[in-house]
């Protein structure tokens, strides 16, 4: 579904991404990990065509994003870190607008709006102005716009950031429900969320992919090596150990 080959991105003197290559198969939910500034958002912005790579290619569903930008965007649903919402619009009118600009056929427009309102549990607030919604609802509206055109690839940049525990569970349930319908690339800092929904983990560090493995295999390998149960959190710390306050984190405090 997604093939990234030798992607590099430079902002002036800063090398944000360096020779990043990976593949994501159809139907996979892939957890995307890395500290702040590791290059996750830059990579997602390149995949969604918002930014162009300094070098390298991305192929989505057989199409090169540099050559077929518009048709590739029809296949992608994207929720940026800050949900892109128009606060003066109601939820329903915003989703209708999203359906129109994402190319949903006019006769299917009402059906798709009703479907995502239901899927994202937004029916209760559909006539409410977005400015008046809680952060959890705003995040769900953001996810609703990302899936309204039934994209093959869903890219979510920290969709649970700033939410309370109940809202996080609701958003994770929503992402899990996408499993059979589309490929998902999910970026988050909360490792336990990846353990709950993802099948594979990509980890970035200083603009490079340092880990690309199935979650099950990864946990199994680490468990064998250390002969006691291992969490993704410990693996994440291992990979970033030289920069972490070692003893403090290593003791699990």
């Amino acid at each position: 579904m997604l093939i990234a080959k030798h992607i590099s991105k430079r902002f002036g003197a800063h090398q944000a991404l360096e020779n990043v290559s990976f593949e994501i198969n159809e139907g996979e939910i892939v957890g995307f990990l890395g500290k702040n500034g590791a290059g996750k958002t830059t990579l997602m912005r390149i995949i969604t065509t918002f930014l162009t790579a300094s070098s390298g290619t991305v192929i989505i569903d057989g199409e090169d994003i540099a050559k077929h930008s518009l048709s590739v965007r029809e296949k992608i649903g994207y929720l940026p870190e800050k949900p892109p919402l128009y606060s003066e619009m109601t939820v329903a009118s915003y989703l209708k607008f999203a359906a129109q600009i994402k190319g949903v056929a006019a006769k299917k427009e009402s059906f798709q709006v009703a479907k995502v309102l239901d899927d994202c549990d937004l029916l209760r607030v559909k006539n409410q102005k977005i400015a008046t919604l809680s952060k959890g609802y705003k995040q769900r509206v953001g996810i609703a716009q990302a899936i309204i055109h039934e994209p093959k690839l869903l890219i979510l940049d920290e969709p649970t950031s700033g939410l309370d525990p109940i809202q996080i569970l609701q958003v994770l349930a929503l992402i899990k429900n996408q499993r059979d319908q589309r490929t998902v690339l999910l970026s988050t800092h909360t490792l336990n969320e990846i353990e709950q929904v993802a099948q594979r983990v990509l980890m970035m560090k200083a603009g490079q992919i340092v880990l690309d493995e199935s979650l099950e295999e990864l946990l199994k390998k680490k468990q064998l090596a250390q002969s006691h149960p291992v969490t993704l959190e410990q693996i994440f710390i291992d990979y970033h150990q030289e920069q972490a306050p070692l003893n403090f984190l290593g003791q699990g405090l």
Partner: protein
């Protein structure tokens, strides 16, 4: 086309969902009405010539206030990323934004057509020269909107967008004032650059291909540059 139309609808909804659009319409029309009666009272002429000159002067101040938010707000709110990652071409985004403001502006201009009917009722105005005057003032506003849209694509800060738009539109409007310092082709250049030179012709009922070409070239140039500015993510 449907996607462009969706952007136009969304933009118009956005203007009219806040009180700003109504305040601008009411305040501008109130000022126009007051000046209309003052001009008629002073000139005793069934003509809108001076009214067009006044409207042009007012639009120099008004249009940057209307256009400053067009792209700046999208960037500041993060919705620019939403538009640019949706299956929309840059031309659709730019033309959707531009057309929506043009419709709002046309509505404002359209409301002043009442002046013609008042003149018609009380006197015998030259319908053709008033018609040409309206074409001129509409083209001038369309040009100023294109300038404002271009500037708005450069920054995420609405105040900066308004100030730079003022600088550019003032330069266009007042460039005839610089002609006294120059002679020959430079003088002619500043004269031709000024919007006042071109609107004066329309206001007295003269319509020439060079005047039309001036406005259309300015509009197209600004829209093409806006598209380039967004394509190159100049605000980042």
């Amino acid at each position: 086309m449907n996607k462009t139309f969706a952007i136009v609808k969304k933009e118009l909804h956005s203007y009219f969902s806040s009180p700003i659009a109504y305040i601008i319409l009411i305040a501008t029309l109130s000022l126009f009405n007051a000046f209309f009666f003052l001009i008629i009272d002073q000139n005793h002429e069934a003509s809108l010539r001076d009214m067009f000159i006044l409207m042009e002067f007012m639009f120099v101040f008004l249009i940057p206030l209307l256009t400053m938010r067009m792209f700046s707000e999208e960037k500041a709110n993060g919705t620019m990323e939403f538009l640019l990652t949706s299956p929309l071409s840059l031309s659709m985004i730019v033309s959707g934004k531009y057309l929506s403001m043009l419709i709002f502006y046309s509505l404002l201009i359209g409301m002043t057509l009442i002046y013609y009917f008042i003149l018609e009722y009380f006197g015998n105005p030259d319908a053709a020269s008033i018609f040409y005057g309206y074409i001129g003032i509409w083209l001038e506003g369309a040009f100023f909107i294109a300038v404002g849209l271009l500037v708005s694509s450069w920054t995420r800060n609405q105040i900066i967008a308004a100030l730079v738009s003022y600088a550019l539109i003032f330069s266009l409007y007042f460039s005839t004032s610089f002609t006294k310092y120059f002679s020959g082709s430079t003088e002619s250049f500043f004269m031709q650059l000024s919007t006042r030179t071109h609107l004066e012709n329309f206001a007295v009922g003269i319509i020439t291909p060079s005047n039309i070409t001036y406005y259309l070239t300015g509009i197209i140039l600004c829209l093409v540059l806006t598209r380039l500015s967004i394509d190159n993510r100049l605000w980042q």
